[in-house]
Point group: D2
Chain length 403, copies 4
């Protein structure tokens, strides 16, 4: 196990740190102001385009993509500290560096499985940051952690596929910038368990596609990022060429997409936790109660210590998972990916919760990023597979050694 970094990787880390300090943090209040003053709920604050320009110029663009044909060609281990840094300002930095979910996963799918035509039409503008995209898998009527519950149908009719179903949590789909949905549905109901689904590329302006309403995360609407949409597909028709990958291989594609997606989430979660710990320490040193700084209270110091213990452990496990993905592949790292998907959000959530407590009422309000981070991480314990599914994966693998 070697978690060392090449000079190239260190140089990018250096530039990312500078980008955060020089551009992103100063842009946070501007972003909030523009958000408050925006004319239309789903418009992104204009400062984002400036930041994107800055990131491109600094060579901090599309770093998530391990395929050197299209992206930076960093290994997962090399990308980890960059993603962690992006997580420190999760509203802004990921999109500014064109490394924001769900586009990253979609770009990865298109890079790996797209036809040249699909790549030309969708991957290039996504990589250029000109459009955004959403991923439509989860459905409101069923427990979507079990892929066999998916009810949406993708049926071949002549030269077309016809899609019928109801999806939700299609993140980003409320935004006018969102032009593409990658939709997963059942194409062969009688196929083997993991060979029933297909994925198709559906333009957002397709007839029959209706964005019904946004859903909120705790009280947050994520308006700047296009929110989270419930989308109805009522006999939406796309050409057969819009099929992504092979027919009935949607489950495998979803797995391919989720591996990197999960580890990116976890890397960013570590960054969120670090930022919360910083804020907690600064506040604890700054505020006084009952005759001394809050930082001198034993209980608060104990939280700070516990926060450091949890972050260190979670980060190391994330690095190990990244290193395994790089050395033995996503399949060989399946247990570790499941493990970090549980560990990292849990650790980060704990740290943020204590940071909220140290901040008092400010901690739950808009005056700190903490409550938003909390809501985001709480949701991450459900999204991309709830904790329970990942814990089952870990247990199954552990027990398999002794059967």
């Amino acid at each position: 196990m070697d978690f060392g970094f090449s000079d190239k990787a260190r140089s990018i880390q250096q530039r990312a740190t500078e980008f955060l300090t020089e551009c992103v943090y100063p842009a946070e209040p501007v972003f909030a102001e523009q958000l408050a003053a925006r004319p239309d709920e789903w418009t992104a604050p204009p400062v984002m385009e400036d930041l994107k320009k800055q990131a491109r110029e600094r060579g901090l663009w599309n770093l998530f993509l391990p395929h050197s044909q299209w992206g930076a060609g960093l290994s997962n281990l090399e990308y980890a500290p960059i993603a962690e840094m992006a997580g420190r300002s999760p509203h802004i930095a990921p999109e500014a560096m064109n490394c924001a979910a769900p586009d990253t996963g979609n770009m990865e799918l298109l890079a790996m499985f797209g036809t040249p035509e699909q790549q030309e039409q969708w991957l290039k503008p996504l990589l250029a940051g000109e459009i955004r995209s959403c991923f439509s898998m989860t459905e409101p009527e069923v427990a979507s952690s079990d892929a066999n519950n998916v009810a949406t149908r993708i049926e071949r009719e002549g030269d077309d596929y016809v899609i019928t179903g109801r999806k939700w949590w299609s993140s980003g789909a409320m935004s006018p910038r969102c032009k593409l949905s990658i939709v997963m549905g059942v194409s062969d109901p009688d196929g083997e368990r993991h060979q029933r689904h297909s994925m198709v590329l559906v333009p957002m302006d397709s007839p029959g596609l209706t964005v019904v309403r946004p859903t909120t995360v705790f009280g947050y609407g994520d308006q700047a990022h296009g929110g989270h949409a419930e989308v109805v597909f009522d006999r939406v028709r796309v050409p057969a060429g819009n099929l992504l990958g092979a027919p009935h291989r949607g489950f495998a594609l979803a797995q391919a997409r989720l591996g990197p997606g999960r580890i990116h989430h976890c890397m960013r979660a570590i960054g969120m936790a670090e930022r919360a710990l910083e804020l907690m320490c600064q506040r604890a040193l700054d505020r006084r109660a009952f005759g001394s700084a809050i930082a001198d209270q034993g209980v608060v110091r104990d939280w700070i210590a516990e926060a450091r213990l949890r972050i260190e452990q979670a980060r190391l496990l994330v690095l190990k998972a990244a290193w395994l993905m790089d050395t033995v592949g996503n399949k060989g790292a399946a247990m570790e990916i499941a493990a970090i998907k549980v560990v990292a959000p849990d650790a980060a959530r704990w740290v943020i919760d204590r940071a909220i407590q140290v901040h008092g009422a400010a901690g739950v309000s808009q005056d700190t990023p903490l409550a938003y981070l909390y809501a985001h991480l709480r949701t991450l314990q459900i999204a991309d597979g709830p904790d329970e599914v990942h814990r089952r994966t870990v247990a199954r693998q552990e027990l398999a050694r002794w059967r």
Copy 2:
């Protein structure tokens, strides 16, 4: 220790249950629709006035007030199950029954310490549900858990008091219906530690009083209830007759206010937990994954059991605190009030968190009340004294037995 109920108390419980079933639960979707469709952010949904009328007719009005001159004259123990029921629909039921914070605490202060003039002017319309009020104690610049940090000044000038300072989390103050703020500030900076503060009644339309902005709780604005406001008092002048109680006795008034306020919060928290457990069970029975109902998964059943264990214990401790307040007074029950202020929100929060997990993405969205309940309870672990202050109280009393 006798937690039995009189026939009168049982009869009220019965009526409260009916009110919830017949009026409140059916009004929840209506309330949400009216909220979405309201012309102005801070307007209350009109269905509330219908519910208030219903509650009055059913004899479910002002039940929180133990002073029989003004209210129902129920003991704390008698009121506990009513408050628990109100907590099951915390957006609607408390206000509908005129038992919502912060008005309850303000009414209690006015009933106990108000002059006949003050009662005529403010208590009567509050008891009638015609106006609402806020309480301005917490300040943004300091750790307000320590009263000695309060910076707002209340200075005598001739026949007036002049108030200067900045408060926040004045809940309800964004609403046009809010007509009164009870303000706590320092009136005698050189007085003994607990004899430095006064409370004054400040009409919301006083010159110099500016409502600066609302703060949010996780992403929620609590718009229907007047939100949470930051309020600046810039040499706000009120007649000396607006002093509440004796001069420089504000700390004692705050304590008198907080005792019942805390137990009411805890009673409602139990109701929130019960509702979340109901929703969790129903969902677990309803949804299927990997071949069986979620309710058949051992881990989910374990959460349900744990939820029941925590709720039962928390409720019993709340009842004991109520019984002690009734039999030995708020001071004699100080340890138990501190204890439940920690225990009840923590128990309820745990239950709600697991209910969210069982609901998946629906749990964090607006489609269930769970995320809102969670945000509310998380905030309660900070408001009215953060957990740490109450835990210190418990420890101090425990150690005092052995010193």
Copy 3:
């Protein structure tokens, strides 16, 4: 719910408190010395007989038995605080007051289901404290939490029952004072699920009965109380008159025995927790580190507060369960009995663990009772049904409301 006590009950509580202070606590070091100096591993320290005499004279004898024909006729609620007090010195007080497991459960079985002959032969000397007894249900080869796993056979041969099997954790059976085992085994393998077992009274000196070895609890042997024995029954023959209750009704008898047994364990657990909290407070006030008493460290104070919160809640739930057993019967209280069987040992264990930490190395040694209490309570989370079985019971009942 009425947790009030009659004058009679209060008077017994008063006498029990005095007995502890005047007799039991002073006897603790004597007991330890006699134990260290005893000639034979399984001999009880002689001071016990003095204490038994004292307890009888003070009217503190056989208080556990609700059947007034045989015992004190206290309700479960009345007995609760007495049992709690006995738990404060669990090595000594329960046996001194003839209220120690497993004899209590055995006496209860004999009082309820024994024939007059059985009562004459076994119940009377047990009630007199002249002999002790054990209960042989658990088996080493199977998961005994599921009664259907019981492998021991009780077969009718002519006028006899013949018992064959291997039991362990027959507590007390290493002592020469132990004269009786109540044995549970399968008598009708083809009967309905809960009508397969019988219980028989087996004299310890029966041919074919071999006490194989003692087992330890963590490193403790419980020698003063007869340890915990593995016992082999090799075609042990007893007269048919030794059957306890009706044939094939052993499961119901076991349930009848376990209800009160579980609540007694829980009451004592509360007493153990209270004693640990006392010791923790005293030590924290007594020892100094880094310039102040340990009691002034925020983290230690936080433990003390948490200990009080957990004890208060657990005690109230135990009282509720006792009150329900008294008012609606053991069956009606099934959920609450399951609940406290989980809650009380868990709370006590937590308190004791923190008390150990405050005591440092002394806490794990023989110089305080803490490590022994810990081992006892840890074992209680397995004995009489492991936590998981009780949690299932609670969940099943909760879910049943919504099916």
Copy 4:
């Protein structure tokens, strides 16, 4: 950060694994039998000498010592997996490989700070496994986590040092094989805070040195390893040449000793956790209740997953601390050493506790190693500095970044 291993290190790991499988595990029941049958409480089972011979022949001797002059010269990182393996059979493997506490720490002190004469007299026979030694620092009357509480005096009289004081938890001192105590005491009461103590080498047969009694850990006496002794030093006189290191530098020596000591404990703790997890899985697959293998119960699977998550994280943090000690030195790794001293025993204890639960009554008995492992790890949360002291170290370092 590079956790890779050299070929040499891999080869030793391979031999250690074989040694465990071929020699240690088969010796466990022999060891237990010999222990039960030994003539004298403090005699070590003879099988140990065979195992020591085996370990020497296999090149598995004194691997702990990083000083190549005396030992194997492995780095901390290289030693980590060996120590982890030794922890899998903690009664036997560490002593068999001459890597058992407290001798390891004493040998390290002698190697680093001993004079050639001291090394000749004590280090050589210790390295040869011919004698054993104890370390006398902790005292019964004070909180020894604060070195300033040490009361034992080491006073210069002419050419001698005279030692007066009472120590306890001098592990190993009950054994006749224990020939040396390294004693820490105050030699300059008026010196600066960390320049008050000295360490001296005291032969166990010195006049005035009395081994008073053994203390137990939960119920265990650790007899095979010489137990844990209370030792009185009543004007014990040793030549001035017995001073270890420089005068009044005992605190620095203690720190030098504790760094490696702590990490060795943590490495072994990981091994204990792994063994417990193995036992848990095997038992869960083996036992059935309520119609299926325990391994099919969701709650048990959840424990298994959680165990794996905790072990993985703790191990990585231990490796990081070892790597830091190797690359930046013990001082530079101070935060990480404090961190793992909290994390590793806590993780291992949790795993073992759940393994106990899965084993039922067997788990607390002598039939599995689990209860003993639990007691050992619980004690480790107190020994070598209680958790609270290490958590303070972590918090202090974290806060220092922001002051």
